[in-house]
Symmetry: C2
Subunit: 312 residues, 2 copies
């Protein structure tokens, strides 16, 4: 997904939240914000939003000399998710379709995202997670996902955020674990999941865990390690969690299931869904055909005089 103009004010809002998380010194905050404005003025809009996020948060980490500004938030999210696990397991066990319930909870965990939301209110988070159990979702897609993962030889599961990873584990327990590789980010970025979180939630004892080799808050393949790319190419099913993975992989010609909650109007427009919708979406690999179709669609849209930019 390319960067829309509407992402720009949002980059600045996210950067502002981040500089406040890393330093109380207004002079440092100002210096970093000026740097972010300068970076943004030069960005290539054909790049995905996480590509800009990577650069912005790298600048913030360097300027603040804090290599993991979201560590405390990640720990809090992990604790919060950990404490919900007994309830979540009971919910799956008593569900008429445990796989569907586990998919719902994995998507529900996606609300623990500090790139998008600004405040973490545990009470509201709990209510939203419970709400996801009964919200509209594509049940046919879930059934298809279920049958495909049962047959898949190599499943690459791309994690998203701390806290959320506990919910991912619940879904992974429904998969053929011996064929699953779980991928975390290569270095701390926002509250995205790293190897430490995979250890915390016990995933390293269940499945093979690799990292992307990149500090992008998504999966920018050309920025990932050779090892990661080999896993990505070898997988006959990729499960990509969250907005960052969608934004960076939505134009890739690969067998990807996207599981996420659309949490901003730009992504909702790109996904052609309502903001807030639960997404279980299969991206058919087409050997190049799909990309061409996307380009055609884009040209057709332009011809029709439709503004490709979101207004909200």
């Amino acid at each position: 997904m390319k960067t829309y103009f509407d992402c720009i004010p949002c980059f600045l809002r996210q950067a502002l939240d981040a500089v406040r998380a890393v330093t109380d010194d207004p002079r440092k905050q100002e210096m970093i914000l000026r740097g972010v404005l300068h970076l943004t003025s030069q960005m290539d809009l054909k790049d995905s939003p996480p590509s800009m996020g990577k650069r912005i948060h790298s600048l913030i980490r360097e300027a603040s000399r804090n290599s993991d500004p979201y560590l405390a938030i990640k720990e809090r999210c992990n604790r919060f998710a950990h404490d919900l696990m007994p309830w979540a397991r009971r919910t799956i066990e008593s569900a008429s379709d445990p796989f569907e319930c586990a998919v719902r909870l994995a998507i529900a965990g996606n609300i623990l995202d500090f790139g998008v939301q600004r405040v973490f209110d545990e009470e509201s988070a709990r209510k939203i997670i419970e709400g996801v159990l009964h919200a509209p979702i594509d049940l046919d897609a879930i059934r298809q996902l279920h049958s495909e993962v049962a047959e898949a030889k190599k499943i690459l599961y791309l994690g998203d955020n701390a806290g959320e990873i506990f919910f991912d584990r619940l879904l992974i327990e429904q998969l053929p674990c011996e064929r699953v590789t779980f991928a975390v980010r290569g270095a701390p970025i926002l509250n995205d999941v790293t190897r430490a979180d995979a250890v915390t939630c016990g995933l390293t004892e269940m499945v093979n865990v690799i990292d992307s080799g990149s500090d992008a808050p998504g999966t920018i393949l050309e920025d990932c390690s050779v090892e990661f790319r080999a896993h990505f190419t070898a997988a006959d099913r990729v499960i990509a969690k969250g907005q960052g993975n969608y934004e960076t992989l939505s134009d890739e010609d690969a067998p990807i299931w996207f599981l996420l909650k659309a949490k901003c109007p730009v992504i909702a427009q790109d996904l052609r869904c309502e903001n807030g919708a639960l997404i279980v979406r299969w991206q058919h690999p087409t050997g190049g055909e799909q990309k061409q179709r996307s380009i055609l669609t884009c040209q057709e849209t332009e011809k029709a005089g439709e503004d490709p930019i979101i207004r909200h």
Copy 2:
């Protein structure tokens, strides 16, 4: 009022709305947005937000070769306000305190502001205006304003937006008109009021109308004409409408009554009021003392470890 960090994402959001209003060409939109990002990266945060607004919208007008991008919106606001006038006059005539009612309506007109709001929905606007008639307001301040304008020798009334100017006229009808000078902006900026709007609503036939000599969406005194500054200095009461005039004059040591609706959390924090509050506020001239007090208060705030920046 200085520019707060939280104003920065808002500048970008406003610029994005504005570039979409002036051109449908995505390349031009991108070029202008990059220019705005570059400008913002170099701005002096000690300047008020309208100082930045002036530069941003000047860049947009130049790049789009459109000297008055908000002309159609201004005409629409004027028509909308014009059509409400029979109702508004009846409301004032039947009010137990016509002056208070006129002040309320003048503040109500301040919702017609396209620097802050993004969509103009006439039905909602009408409801908000009606709501202002019964909303909490400082009645003592209104009584004080009433007695002061009765005694004032020279009243300078600083207009704000098109449409709103019709409501200003209703308040001016309650003032000693022969002692009132009404000021408009020196050139088109956003949907701010210019001489053309003063003519449209008939104010030029009622009172002396001058312009600020500046295209800032507020009153940056050093950017105003000598003639305007002479009027400002000579006035024993200034009535300053709207956020732009507040942001640019809140640190001036002058006898100003601010009438506005606080429409963003940054201004609400600066005014120490709830967002959405109706403001009737007297700024005592102190011959320099006040500025010193503000500085002291600011230092005290910093000492107390309070974050001077809004979080929202």
